[in-house]
Amino acid sequence: MKKNDKILLDHGSGGKISHAMIEEMMLPVFDNPILAQLNDGAEIKVGDERLAFSTDSYVVDPIFFPGGNIGDLAVNGTVNDLAMSGAVPMFLSVGLIIEEGFPAADLNVILCQMGLAAKKAVVLVVTGDTKVVPRGAADKIFINTSGIGRIPDGVQISGHRARPGDKILLSGTLADHGIAILTSREGMRFDSPVISDTAALNHLVQRMLAVDRDIHVLRDPTRGGLGTTLNEIAGQSKVGIHIAEERIPIKPDVAALCELLGFDPLYIANEGKLIAVISPDHADAVLAVLRADPLGKDACIIGEVVQTPAGRVILQTRIGGTRIVDMLTGEQLPRIC
């Protein structure tokens, strides 16, 4: 970054400019091989145990939205970050930053939903912190959650492990969360039926691991969406990725709203979906497990890993043409999670 640059909303987009900031400003300062892996959760060794450790902050606007609120989103989000390393999430911390004057009743609803989400995911909230800041110093409520989970023996999931020939699985429809948030914002006035897909995916991941211990890559395509996540995998594994537009499931209402608002669903956030890169021998078995679960009922094999062009994601369009899918550049929707 140049001397007089300011931090822009783009720096929080999860796209290209966020990655550049992490590489230029953070990796050199916190220089260590665990962080340098840049997976959703860090993998740390304590004695013989392999643990996954992850953190995430939630600033979603509005705090209540169809399908959830900032509380269950904060629990599910960190649970999912842990689950994407194959870990069984165990313990969470919760940090609350609350604006002076925030209604206690709303806080109560948020906390109750966090409790329910933790129960559903089978994790314990074991430590926490609360700060209240003067009116205007924060917008309503921000939540940070961190989590620790145990990685089962033999599980080696990493963004570096995609190999040519591997299949790319997507667990369900794209863009539900982002569009649910956007259309529930003040000023949009859409009578939208779209609800967020926020959900904990850890149980689903364990069921997938039961049929394929050697899942190569798992990612949840949150900020930056499918397009950005696939680019991350292609970059980390130094492979190409081919996907077919017609195989990517999108609900008709979500597709319509994306059309209307000019958004590309490939870059819209999801909060209850995963991408799995699986060896071709196991892809069908994992797909069957996904489809048997309510959280994966719309799962599809959307493409495969290829040798070249390394670092690139290529989309075959519905009319049979091809184009690249680049990483998101610029902020598409601020405060989506």
């Binding site: 290209k16 949009m188 009319i319 043409g321 184009r323 550049t329 610029g330």
Partner: protein, 369 residues
């Protein structure tokens, strides 16, 4: 809500048949020169790239992107004026999202917003009007950028403000009009275009008759097209047939939305508030009657009149080929800055930053590997 009706315009089978037809007409013209077709509108450009249409066309047919990206053709002095307005005290700037990142001579709206200026992204001028109602102590300036597609709603916002007696709502009009720019393009000696895909949205307002001069005076094959892959393939097929037969037409291939007369109500609202003015287009220079200014009767809503706007002497960045790219003379990879000094993260010219810009579309959708 459903977009089921759009599915047929994306139907792979229908697309396949059109591609076959294009190939068949194209092969009949073997030996003749290659054909250059211009899609005038930025929405077409994005649709063409997103659906991979270029990759399915036979060799010898090239689609060239034109000047139909409103942000891209906005003159540097207007961008600098937007920034100058955003720096004024007690002002809220309301703008379409596309303008936020466009670099001015020494700043951008994005930078000004990060520096604490009140700049809000809206989806319609009517949202800006609501902001003005909610903030009677501030002056709310809507940045009016766009073609005949957006101008009527912005005109309607001024009429509404006038009717409601709102005194703190203003518009800076940098609107452009499409037919005069097409006239300039087809007359330009350095622009070689064999046929035009005309903009669908603008045509909904203006009607197909607005382009009759292209057929009668300039004998240019033209098609008004919708924005789905099948629409665009149909347009290419129609243009090739016209070129092959040597019979230029004005083909309305978007009759589900475009009539010969257009939308008279929208036109009358636009005419009530705006009048044609000679306007500076980035890359194309000053186009006679190529822009819209607010009529004197509504001068109190005109930010260009109500504010004393001081802008720096505009500096067009050295080497930026946006001008030639907007005329279809160059393609982005032929610009020395493309993907080097100029990227969507750190854009030099507006064609790289607008979602409808040709450079952004190349960057996002075309692999150079």
């Amino acid at each position: 809500m459903s977009i089921k009706h759009l599915e047929e315009y994306r139907d792979p089978e229908l697309a396949r048949r059109l591609i076959d037809r294009i190939q068949s007409i194209s092969s009949k013209s073997v030996g003749t020169k290659s054909v250059r077709l211009m899609e005038v509108c930025g929405t077409h450009t994005v649709s063409i790239f997103r659906s991979g249409i270029r990759s399915v066309l036979p060799d010898g047919i090239s689609l060239v992107s034109g000047p139909g990206c409103p942000v891209c053709v906005t003159d540097q002095s207007d961008i600098d004026a937007f920034i100058a307005i955003s720096r004024m005290d007690h002002v809220i700037v309301a703008t379409f999202g596309d303008l936020i990142r466009v670099p001015g001579t020494d700043s951008s709206l994005q930078s000004e917003r990060a520096g604490g200026r009140d700049i809000r992204v809206v989806y319609s001028a009517l949202d800006a009007l609501n902001i003005a109602k909610q903030h009677p102590d501030k002056r709310v300036v809507f940045l009016g950028v766009g073609f005949e597609t957006t101008a009527p709603t912005i005109a309607a916002s001024i009429l509404t403000a006038n009717f409601a007696g709102l005194t703190n709502y203003l518009v800076y009009s940098a609107h452009k009009t499409v037919p005069p720019a097409l006239e300039v393009l087809v007359n330009a000696p350095d622009v070689h275009i064999d046929g035009l895909i005309l903009p669908g949205h603008v045509s909904v307002i203006l009607g197909s008759n607005a382009y009759m001069f292209l057929k009668t005076v300039h004998r240019k094959p033209c098609v008004i097209a919708g924005f789905e892959p099948v629409d665009i393939l149909h347009a290419v097929s129609s243009l090739l047939s016209q070129i092959h037969a040597g019979k230029p037409e004005l083909d309305n291939a978007y009759p589900r939305a475009v009539t010969p007369e257009g939308n008279p109500k929208a036109i009358s609202v636009m005419d009530a508030v705006f009048e044609p003015v000679d306007a500076a287009w980035r890359g194309l220079g000053t186009i006679p009657r190529g822009g819209l200014k607010i009529r004197e009767a509504y001068a109190r809503f005109d930010a260009a009149i109500q504010f004393d706007i001081q802008v720096p002497e505009p500096v067009i960045p050295n080497g930026c080929a946006c001008g030639d790219i907007l005329k279809g003379i160059k393609i982005p990879p032929e610009c020395a800055l493309y993907k080097k000094r100029c990227t969507p993260v750190d854009p030099v010219g507006p064609c790289m930053v607008s979602s409808e810009g040709t450079c952004a579309a190349y960057y996002r959708y075309v692999s150079n590997l």
